[in-house]
């Protein structure tokens, strides 16, 4: 009888996803498409922000597209399509996050050369999407003023894989008694040096900074083939 033996495997459990994400990222970079992955809890205002973002980029003559993930319904895709941008909906039917192959499948028939920016709105969830690289160049963690200042402390995992923390719905800060200083302090506690942007998709406050950030990241991507995010994930 042959004795049991121990094999060293030393493999990332999500290796297949990571490898696909790396390949996808290389294609995006080659086509000069800045891919942004928006992650937050449900109700943070991802869709409103994105609709406004698509509109503004289109008005500026940029070519944009979006893929949006939800458990059920294509409501968000329909809301986003109002901007005039091509939009596709991923219905995950219960799956709490997007994976690289879901995004890849939904790219079929699109020519990356037609886009400057591609946005991926992840399933509303602060935990699960963290582990899946989607080939994005930029990952944004959204936090709305209605959610409470301690979200970064409760979900440090997400804030540690995101490149920017984006505080949304700033028009509601006052009625919600949002403590901005505390929120900023908590973000810095879990991710020292993290960039923070603040927007209100409703009033347009901070939208220029956000759009400029995206444009700068795309310039950086075109110039160097790399962004901060690409260094953070799929190592």
């Amino acid at each position: 009888m042959i004795e049991p033996r121990i094999l060293e495997v030393r493999t990332k459990i999500l290796k297949k996803n990571d490898e696909l994400a790396r390949t996808m990222r290389a294609h995006f970079v080659e086509a000069d498409v800045l891919v942004t992955n928006l992650v937050s809890s449900p109700g943070t205002g991802k869709t409103s922000l994105l609709r406004e973002t698509l509109k503004r980029l289109l008005d500026a003559g940029e070519k944009v597209a979006a893929i949006v993930g939800d458990l059920e319904t294509d409501n968000d895709a329909r809301r986003l399509a109002e901007s005039g941008a091509p939009v596709r909906q991923i219905m995950t039917h219960g799956c709490c996050h997007l994976e690289a192959d879901m995004v890849q499948q939904h790219l079929t028939g699109w020519d990356l050369a037609d886009f400057d920016y591609l946005f991926i709105e992840n399933v509303g969830n602060l935990v699960c999407p963290t582990s899946w690289d989607l080939g994005e160049s930029v990952r944004i963690a959204l936090l709305s003023v209605t959610e409470g200042e301690d979200k970064p402390l409760k979900y440090p995992g997400l804030f540690n894989t995101a490149d920017v923390a984006l505080i949304t719905k700033t028009d509601l800060a006052e009625p919600c008694e949002f403590n901005r200083e505390l929120a900023l302090k908590n973000i810095q506690a879990v991710r020292p040096g993290m960039s923070v942007l603040e927007t209100s998709a409703k009033t347009g406050d901070g939208m220029d900074d956000w759009i400029n950030y995206l444009k700068n990241m795309r310039e950086q991507l075109k110039a160097t083939g790399n962004t901060v995010a690409a260094n953070n994930r799929s190592r």
Partner: protein, 121 residues
């Protein structure tokens, strides 16, 4: 509950490695996990126990190898271990650091295989 997706990959990778090395059954696996992997261990155990049924991993034990979160402290000029994940500051000198050196791991470390199809064969 993303642990089900992770367990699915885990079963797949472990089985591939076992087969490639002539294994018929997997008796145990070791998973290296860091606190920043966002994995809930008991949820992964639960998912793994479900998915291993009817595979060469049936009856396999899941063992953990916990990795601490460490960051590089620019003041102390060395890697330091953090007591938690809410405060990314050097526990010795209080310098903030986001230069994470470990803690994101989610790796299949080892598998214990045997060449018999069943335990009593």
């Amino acid at each position: 509950m993303h642990e089900l997706s992770i367990a699915n990959s885990l079963v797949e990778i472990a089985s591939e490695h076992a087969r490639a090395n002539g294994g018929q059954r997997i008796l145990a696996i070791t998973v290296r996990v860091g606190p920043l992997s966002c994995v809930h261990k008991s949820a992964l155990e639960f998912s793994f126990d479900l998915l291993k049924q009817g595979t060469m991993l049936e009856g396999a034990q899941l063992k953990w190898l916990d990795v601490p979160v460490t960051v590089f402290c620019p003041t102390c000029e060395r890697e330091v271990e953090l007591p938690g994940i809410q405060r990314f500051r050097c526990p010795e000198c209080d310098t903030p650091s986001g230069d994470i050196r470990s803690g994101r791991e989610l790796d299949l470390e080892t598998i214990e295989i045997c060449q018999q199809a069943t335990a009593d064969a």
